[in-house]
C-alpha cells in the first residue's frame, strides 16, 4: 500500500442527511440517517467505514456523491467546496462509486461494453467510435476481462465477474476518488479475495483514493489505512486500522471487535466476548444524547443529555465518548 501523501483530498464537515417519513396526515418525522459526521481522507489512502444496520454508512457514501441532497454540512474536494450544479458536474468526473449488489447494479438489457462505456457517453469523453471501443477494452483489461466478453450480457456472468464490470465502469472517467459501497459483501469468500486484491492493485496502478464502506470487519482491516466506526448516524471512533483493532477506545468499538468471529478455533474459544444486550434502536427513534447509551454498560446521565464531542485524543485517533477516561 502506498504511504499516503498527507494531502487532504476529501473533507466532510458536519454532514447531515435527514429523510422525512410520513407519520400521519401532513405530519412528517425526520429519519436522521446521518447526523453530524466530519472526517477527512488523504490522497492515496483507503478510509474504511464500518457500522451495523442503521448506522448511515451507505448514506454517507451516497450523499458525498450527491445522490442524496445533503440536509446540512459541507463537502470539500481538493480544497474546493462542492455546492453548485457545475461543481457537482465536475466532481462527478473525479469521484465515482462501486455498488454492492452485482445483480442489480448492471442493466440487464445492456451489453458489457455499453455498461462500461456509459460514463464515457454521458460525459462525452471520446470523439470517434474507435476511441470509445479502445478505451472500453482498456478498462476491461484493467479488471481482467477480455474482448470476448464485450458483447455479452450481464446475466451471463458470475457475481465476481459482474463486480469487475462494475469496477471497470467506475474507472471509465479516470477518477481520483472512488466510494466503494460494500463491494464484496455479496460475493463468495474465494471471489472476495480476488476482488480485494484487484482493488489493491488498481489503487497502486492508478493512484486512487478509496472510501471503503463495509460491514465485514476482517475485510476492512485488510484493505484500509484508517477506519471510522459509525453508530446510528454518528461517527464514534476514527483511527489507524491497527489501532482500531488492537486498542479500541469507544465501548461500541470494543464490543464490535470482540463480536467478530475469528476463523481460528483456538482463538475463537478463548475469545472473551463483550456481549451487548438489546437490539440496535431504529434511526427514527434514536436515543437522546449519545445514541449508544441504551446498550452501553458505562452510560450515565450525562450520556443522555448531550452528544459527546468527536475529538482527537491521540495523534490521528478520534473518539466521541463522555466516559473515555473511566473506561480506559
Amino acid at each position: 500500500m502506498i504511504v499516503a501523501e498527507k494531502k487532504t483530498l476529501l473533507e466532510v464537515k458536519d454532514l447531515k442527511e435527514y429523510f422525512y417519513i410520513n407519520t400521519g396526515l401532513f405530519q412528517t418525522k425526520p429519519l436522521k440517517a446521518v447526523d453530524g459526521v466530519s472526517f477527512a481522507i488523504n490522497k492515496g489512502e483507503t478510509l474504511g467505514l464500518v457500522g451495523e444496520s442503521g448506522c448511515g454508512k451507505t448514506t454517507v457514501g451516497r450523499t458525498i456523491l450527491n445522490l442524496y441532497k445533503p440536509t446540512g454540512g459541507e463537502i470539500w474536494y481538493d480544497g474546493k467546496l462542492i455546492k453548485t450544479r457545475s461543481d457537482i458536474k465536475a466532481f462527478r468526473k473525479k469521484a465515482t462509486m462501486v455498488f454492492q449488489d452485482p445483480y442489480s447494479s448492471l442493466n440487464p438489457r445492456m451489453t458489457v461494453a455499453d455498461i462500461i462505456g456509459e460514463p464515457l457517453d454521458v460525459h462525452g469523453l471520446y470523439k470517434t467510435k474507435n476511441e470509445r471501443r479502445e478505451r472500453i477494452l482498456e478498462l476491461m483489461n484493467y479488471v481482467g476481462l477480455n474482448s470476448e466478453h464485450a458483447a455479452r450480457y450481464a446475466h451471463e456472468f458470475s457475481g465476481g465477474q459482474r463486480q469487475r464490470i462494475g469496477i471497470a465502469r467506475s474507472l471509465a472517467v479516470n477518477p481520483e476518488f472512488i466510494v466503494c459501497d460494500e463491494p464484496v459483501s455479496a460475493l463468495d469468500v474465494s471471489i472476495q479475495a480476488q476482488v480485494i486484491n484487484m482493488f489493491d492493485e488498481l489503487q497502486d496502478q492508478l493512484h486512487l483514493t478509496y472510501l471503503f464502506i463495509a460491514h465485514d470487519l476482517l475485510v476492512v482491516r485488510h484493505i484500509s489505512d484508517r477506519i471510522a466506526v459509525m453508530y446510528l448516524g454518528r461517527m464514534v471512533e476514527l483511527a489507524a486500522a491497527g489501532e482500531i483493532y488492537d486498542h479500541p477506545l469507544h465501548p461500541y468499538t470494543k464490543s464490535l471487535m470482540s463480536a467478530v468471529p475469528i476463523p481460528d478455533p483456538k482463538i475463537a474459544r478463548a475469545n472473551q466476548r463483550i456481549a451487548l444486550t438489546g437490539d440496535i434502536p431504529s434511526p427514527l427513534n434514536a436515543p437522546s444524547g449519545c445514541p449508544f447509551r441504551t446498550r452501553c454498560k458505562y452510560a450515565t446521565e450525562q450520556c443522555a443529555e448531550s452528544m459527546p464531542e468527536f475529538k482527537e485524543v491521540s495523534t490521528g485517533h478520534f473518539v466521541a465518548c463522555h466516559r473515555l477516561a473511566e473506561i480506559n
Binding site: 500500500m1 469468500v189 474465494s190 471471489i191 472476495q192 460491514h215 482491516r221 468471529p261 451487548l276
Partner: protein, 341 residues
C-alpha cells in the same frame, strides 16, 4: 450408533437446461449433542444436503440415491407420513432470512402456538404457556407482550430468536441452521450464536450449522465438512480442518480470508470462478481452479481417503505427498496391482 447417518446421498434438480447434480455422493455421521458445520460457497450443495435430509426440496429436486438414517430409521423413500412425524419433531430447521421466514399476517404468538399444537398434544392454553416458556428460553424479554405482536414490529435478531423458539418447541434431536446469522449484524450474530451454543448444551441437541463463514465455524463447530460443487472435499474435527487442511480447496479458502496478519499484503485467492453445475468437468470439480492440479485430477475424481482417525479428504495431493514421504509404496502400473499400502 450415530444419531444421523448419511450415506452416498445424491440429489439432483431436473431443470429445462438439464440435470443439475446438486449433491453428489455425500456421506457423514452426526452424533448426539455434537455441532457439525457444513462449509461451502454458493453452488456447493450444502443447503440442498440439509433439505434432502428433511425432504423439503423445491419442485424439481429429487433424491436419486443414497440413504439417510435417523436413529437407525431410514428416511429416504419412507414417505410423507413418516416425514411429517420427523419434521419439526425430531429434526427442525431455521433459515437464513428471518424477514421472510415468518408469516407477516399472523402474530408471533399465533405462529409459535401453531408449531407447538401441530406436533404435540397440547390444547391452546398449554400451547400458550409453552410458547411463553420457549420465548424465555431464547432470551426474549417481555414474552407476553411479544406474543401479541406481528413480525414486522421486530428486528432481525428478534425474529431469528422467534424462529429458534419455534424450531425448539418440540425439543428436536437435531437442529439444522441454514446460514442463520448471515443476514444479521455482527453484534446480533454474536448474541444469536451464543444463544445457540447455550441451548445446545442445555438441551443436549445436535446442530448442523450450514454457513460460508469460517469464523462462525471456528467458534461453534466440533466437526466440519467442506463441500465444493456437490461433493465433500474434506471432513474432520474443527482443529484438524483449520490447522491441517488436506484438500487444495480448503487450503485455498484459508488463504483467502483476510486476517490480522494479512493486512498490507496481498491475499492469495483461489483463481477462476465458481463452477457451473450444468457444465461439470470430468474429474475433480475443483481442478480447473486448483493451482496444484495434476494430470490425474483432470480425469479422475479422487476418492475419500482417510488421513487419520479424525480427518478424511478427497484429494490426490495427499497421495502425492504420501508417495514422496514414502508412506505409500507404489507398484508398477503395467499389471493390475490394486491394493497398495
Amino acid at each position: 450408533m450415530a444419531l444421523l447417518e448419511v450415506n452416498h446421498l445424491q440429489t439432483s434438480f431436473f431443470t429445462d437446461a438439464g440435470e443439475v447434480k446438486a449433491v453428489n455422493d455425500v456421506s457423514f455421521t452426526l452424533d448426539r449433542g455434537k455441532v457439525l458445520g457444513i462449509v461451502g460457497e454458493s453452488g456447493s450443495g450444502k443447503s440442498v444436503t440439509a433439505y434432502s435430509i428433511m425432504q423439503i426440496l423445491a419442485g424439481t429436486g429429487k433424491i436419486v440415491g443414497g440413504s439417510v438414517k435417523l436413529d437407525g430409521q431410514e428416511l429416504v423413500g419412507a414417505g410423507e407420513k413418516v416425514m411429517k412425524t420427523v419434521r419439526g419433531n425430531k429434526i427442525s430447521i431455521i433459515f437464513q432470512d428471518p424477514m421472510t421466514s415468518l408469516n407477516p399476517t399472523y402474530t408471533i404468538g399465533h405462529q409459535l402456538m401453531e408449531a407447538i399444537m401441530l406436533h404435540t398434544n397440547r390444547n391452546r392454553q398449554q400451547a400458550h404457556d409453552r410458547a411463553i416458556e420457549m420465548l424465555r428460553l431464547v432470551n426474549v424479554n417481555d414474552p407476553e407482550k411479544r406474543m401479541k405482536q406481528y413480525p414486522y414490529e421486530h428486528s432481525g435478531g428478534m425474529r431469528q430468536r422467534v424462529m429458534i423458539a419455534m424450531a425448539l418447541a418440540c425439543e428436536p434431536d437435531i437442529l439444522i441452521a441454514d446460514e442463520p446469522t448471515t443476514a444479521l449484524d455482527v453484534t446480533i450474530q454474536a448474541q444469536i450464536l451464543e444463544l445457540m451454543g447455550q441451548l445446545q448444551k442445555e438441551l443436549g441437541m445436535a446442530i448442523i450449522m450450514i454457513t460460508h463463514d469460517l469464523g462462525v465455524v471456528a467458534q461453534m463447530c466440533d466437526e466440519v465438512i467442506v463441500m465444493y460443487a456437490g461433493s465433500i472435499c474434506e471432513q474432520g474435527t474443527a482443529d484438524e480442518i483449520f490447522y491441517n487442511p488436506c484438500h487444495e480447496y480448503t487450503k485455498g479458502l484459508m488463504r483467502s480470508i483476510p486476517t490480522a496478519d494479512t493486512a498490507g499484503t496481498k491475499l492469495q485467492p483461489i483463481s477462476g470462478t465458481p463452477i457451473d453445475l450444468l457444465n461439470m468437468p470430468a474429474g475433480c470439480p475443483f481442478a480447473p481452479r486448483c493451482d496444484n492440479a495434476m494430470k490425474i485430477c483432470i480425469h479422475h475424481c479422487a476418492e475419500r481417503m482417510t488421513i487419520n482417525k479424525a480427518h478424511a479428504a478427497a484429494c490426490w495431493m495427499n497421495v502425492k505427498k504420501g508417495m514422496e514421504s514414502g508412506e505409500i509404496v507404489v507398484e508398477s502400473t503395467e499389471e493390475g496391482g490394486d491394493d497398495r499400502g
